[in-house]
């Protein structure tokens, strides 16, 4: 890592030139798109959740788990059909941040590495990105549960 300030004259010239020609990223527009598409996913999730409440024995509290599973399943199907790629291109973070992005990460990696065989290709690469999600999710849940248990033991909450 070099010093940031010590740039030669040529580098500075290049930077100002680059700034002139580089296309500006429409950050605000992207945020709006992500907000609405992500919100649409959540709307669908709410509908699925009410579906479980109405037709099965789930309460608002317990319907979360099957809803998450269903949403991941939907996004897996959409990824397989090649629809989710287009949604991702349009919405960016709006399609990656909700839990549907998890299903997309699993299946897209599986499709990409199919040519390398089922064990080393699909099996080994399927959880390339999703594995870290699971790992850090489980670990942080463990830490939070530990803190909560201790706080309850000490009578703080």
């Amino acid at each position: 890592m070099g010093n940031k300030d010590s740039k030669s004259k040529k580098q500075q010239q290049y930077q100002s030139l680059e700034k002139k020609y580089e296309a500006k990223r429409p950050v605000f527009k992207n945020c709006i798109k992500a907000f609405f598409v992500g919100g649409l996913f959540c709307l669908l999730g709410q509908a699925v959740s009410y579906f479980y409440i109405y037709f099965f024995n789930f309460t608002e509290q317990t319907s979360g788990n099957p809803t998450v599973a269903t949403m991941v399943f939907f996004s897996m199907l959409l990824t397989g059909f090649g629809v989710y790629d287009h949604i991702g291109q349009f919405a960016g973070a709006g399609s990656a941040v909700p839990v549907t992005g998890f299903g997309n990460a699993v299946i897209s990696a599986a499709i990409e590495h199919r040519t390398e065989g089922f064990v080393l290709g699909v099996g080994g690469n399927m959880f390339k990105l999703a594995g870290s999600v699971i790992l850090f999710g489980v670990f942080s849940a463990f830490i939070v549960a530990l803190i909560k248990t201790l706080l309850i033991k000490w009578g703080v909450i």
Binding site: F51, I53, F58, T59, T62, L77, G82
Partner: protein, 156 residues
């Protein structure tokens, strides 16, 4: 790809549509409509009991944060279900605590089960509807109430 998408939508519609087998009932639309079910008692339907459930419902309705209250009195427990106004859902825990406190203070000898869960409300409305039918026995009603209470206590 387009074909697959169409197939997916059609399949989804058929699968979801197949589940809708019961006709339009009050409980079915209670998600978007205020139902205000009448408070009911299972088992002995004495005047004292009726007055009790009515006054319980009135007490709960006095809270500004909520609307639509269902009260069902079983043999031992009284089930209280309510819907919380949308923006007040942030204070759901506090509201439940307040209600519990008020009920315990006012009726110390009764056993209350208080829930803001929509599923509990839905089941309570359904039970109240079923009890209008004279073929529905008191025993069945009590059993259903116990099932609802069990559902309320479930956490996962």
């Amino acid at each position: 790809m387009r074909k697959c998408l169409i197939l997916f939508i059609v399949m989804g519609t058929v699968l979801v549509g197949g589940c809708n087998n019961d006709g339009p009932k009050e409980s079915g639309i209670s998600l978007i409509k205020t139902t205000n079910p009448t408070p009911v008692t299972i088992g002995k339907d004495t005047k004292k009991d009726q007055e009790l459930v009515r006054s319980v419902e009135k007490d709960i309705e006095d809270f500004d944060e909520l609307y639509d209250v269902a009260v069902i009195k079983g043999k031992e427990d009284i089930l209280v279900a309510y819907k919380v106004k949308h923006m007040q859902r942030f204070h759901m825990k506090r509201i439940e605590k307040d209600i519990n406190k008020r009920l315990e203070d006012k009726y110390p000898e009764e056993n209350f089960i208080v829930s803001s869960d929509y599923k509990i409300f839905l089941e309570a409305v359904e039970l109240e509807e079923n009890m209008k039918d004279s073929n529905y026995s008191q025993k069945e009603a009590e059993k259903k109430l116990q099932e609802i209470i069990k559902l309320k206590k479930e956490l996962t």
